[in-house]
Symmetry: C2
């Protein structure tokens, strides 16, 4: 039945494609228009970044903003990163090896070793941020019309990569009432079709902050084995976990070597987003060989930033623990302040550094825009990320916003006061009352 419906979909897509070609030629000839690809037309502007031009314009008018919208840590990038780059002795910045410079691969091995996880050097490929890592992995696993299961709400840029690859995202709904934990194995299995190639998750999760339990990990393992699925896990928030919740990497699951693919990055743990250094780690040698071809085609990840990243991955694990403590304190400040705001609900995050918040507004996107355009207290306002695009059905998250707690407590409290005031004022605006 599923296979038949699959073929049915392909037939329709084929007919659309033929029709499109004929029509696009006609349009081109008629209007002399330089067309862009249908592939790129279906992409949306990033909900996290599309307000940027308006924000820049408002800043020029003297307005200031506290940014809750981007997961850009404010903490210092460890000095060893800068030192390593300054100590670079060459007088030429050459291409790095396509798979990464050997000292960095070694440092990443060491990082996993601290977690009791063993990867061989040929089981790691360095990438330009976790963005490239996700794109490479999905490119190597999926053909057009293949399907990937992702718990939703999800990290929105992932979906943009899937669309570029013509891969179908099947969202597995999760709910604030469960703190966004996974549904049952049976529920998840209803989303699996013959075209399902992989499950993709972020652990700890962005935007929900969910840390998957042992039970959930074992369940995902069982599903992966039973249905021959890859288990691709974005672990860039590893170690940023609260309330002493036990947590481990999916790479530590046994008997799953051919299935598990770990995505990592220095961006979040080491407050080094702009370094654009990430990694893919997997014991599936066949897959890694294929990903290696993608890495060769783009030549290399940036060389100096790789040298800096060696120092970051070599930092003792206690650093990450201390970092998590800082974020835990901020989380508590944010959650407490949010609980104090009438009409909203927050699911308390177990890890990462985001709060997903239910607002009382029909369109949180309109609220976000209003905050940038119209709201201010002494010329200061806030930027929040509307959550609708974190869902395969935008309606599910239309009323939600994501807030990143990437500021010190003083800024955070100031921003949350602004949010409280903004919600109050916007409630009036919604009711048609002038403020």
């Amino acid at each position: 039945m599923t296979r038949h419906s699959n073929i049915h979909i392909i037939s329709i897509l084929y007919l659309i494609s033929v029709f499109d070609t004929v029509m696009s030629i006609k349009i081109k000839k008629m209007w002399c228009i330089m067309q862009v690809s249908k592939r790129v037309l279906q992409l949306k502007d990033s909900p996290l970044r599309k307000l940027t031009p308006l924000i820049e314009a408002k800043k020029k008018e003297g307005k200031t903003f506290i940014h809750f919208n981007i997961g850009q840590p404010d903490l210092e990038t460890p000095q060893c990163f800068f030192d390593a780059i300054q100590n670079f002795k060459g007088n030429n910045v050459p291409y790095a090896p396509s798979l990464g410079i050997p000292p960095l691969i070694e440092a990443i091995q060491g990082y996993f070793k601290h977690q009791g996880i063993s990867f061989k050097s040929n089981e790691i490929i360095v990438t330009t941020g976790s963005s490239e890592a996700i794109f490479f992995v999905m490119n190597a696993i999926c053909d057009p019309f293949d399907e990937v299961l992702i718990p939703e709400p999800y990290y929105v840029n992932t979906v943009s990569f899937m669309k570029q690859l013509d891969v179908v995202v099947k969202g597995i709904p999760t709910y604030a009432s469960d703190r966004y934990h996974l549904p049952s194995m049976q529920d998840i299995e209803t989303h699996i079709t013959p075209r399902t190639k992989a499950m993709l998750l972020t652990h700890p999760n962005n935007p929900t902050g969910t840390v998957y339990s042992e039970y959930e990990m074992e369940m995902l393992k069982e599903i992966a084995i039973k249905h021959h699925l890859y288990l691709v896990v974005d672990e860039v928030y590893t170690g940023i976990v609260y309330d002493q919740i036990p947590s481990r990497s999916f790479a530590s699951l046994e008997d799953l070597d051919d299935h598990v693919v770990i995505i990592d990055s220095v961006s979040k743990r080491y407050s080094s987003c702009g370094a654009r250094i990430g990694a893919i780690a997997s014991r599936n040698h066949n897959l890694m060989k294929e990903i290696g071809k993608l890495a060769q085609a783009r030549l290399s990840a940036p060389t100096l930033e790789q040298i800096g990243a060696v120092a970051l991955y070599n930092i003792a694990p206690s650093f990450i623990k201390k970092t998590a403590e800082i974020y835990e304190c901020r989380r508590n400040v944010m959650v407490n302040a949010l609980k104090d705001i009438e009409g909203i609900h927050v699911s308390v995050p177990e890890g990462a550094f985001y709060c997903l918040v239910d607002t009382p507004f029909h369109s949180a996107e309109a609220f976000a825009l209003w905050c940038v355009e119209h709201f201010h207290v002494n010329h200061e306002s806030i930027v929040v990320a509307p959550a609708q695009d974190f869902y395969s059905n935008p309606k599910s998250g239309a009323h939600q916003i994501r807030l990143a707690f990437v500021h010190d407590v003083v800024v955070l409290e100031k921003g949350l006061n602004l949010l409280k005031e903004a919600i109050k004022q916007y409630t009036f605006v919604q009711k048609g009352i002038n403020v």
Copy 2:
């Protein structure tokens, strides 16, 4: 007729796709194999990089190599690049804006201004090397099965990107006898079908060194307008032109604003390959808007390297002239040495820093491998790039190699002596005579 054959191809591809899905499910179920995508399986290892593991192994045995295979300049990266990075005052390396940091966009505008070319700030997008630039542009222009014309031999990694996008490369054959200049307009037009979306060229050309004449530029302009095609021009070797051949950017062509897309990078002109900073410049605002979405999805290009690149793009144009003089001297050394080797033919390059060489061997790839594995003079050997993958039909270039003159004259002469000896010895090996 062409449209019919096109639809015919799509029908076949559709049937193959359905058959493949059914079969792949059966295979998966039967053998529990974790499969990779068909898309990635069709990619080849880069001919420029696939010998790397063998070379590394040989180096460990004490063998040394002179590398002619990679376009990795040996010249010093200008000190201002390192200084700019060292002068970075922040204590956190943040994401850069997705479209690039404003000072870099301004510096790139200035670089074009020196050539009398005007780009507005919203007509430039910073990328992670020209690799990402080519990928973004082709992604934004082409859908699966669309076609792009590329003069062949071509820059091989481009084809890898096309395959990832399911875009069809149509090679326009060019020949050593014409110094790889373009055929007539009529000849080029025979390759155009309703699915042709763009022409893509490298100017000056890699691997042929061809600098396109005014006549060729005007011809390409005429074709682009007549057939509503994008003209995507990789100009990373701009300014590296010899024999005082007149040359200008395709961006200076008038009445072609919607068609021309320029790809640039700091890699070659400023000997900064590892910086991975490139750019897209186009006055087609609709296209740039779509490319902006791709840029947003991957967040940003590396921040510190962008800061370094500002300094590079701000270097006075006289620097590029001096750089070109250095390469011209090397080109003369290489061409003269090659003319002295029996059995080979070299087309004298007009720009860039490669010589494309006809060898007397049926398989230049086997020769390249033999050089790494078996040939040495006092434990020293050479690495050359076999050219077969620079052609849509590998047979066309099976006997060719590409040599990069990216070493000082002393090293170059030593390497060319080794090449002469290698060709002599391999000729004997081919004849079955022990050496």
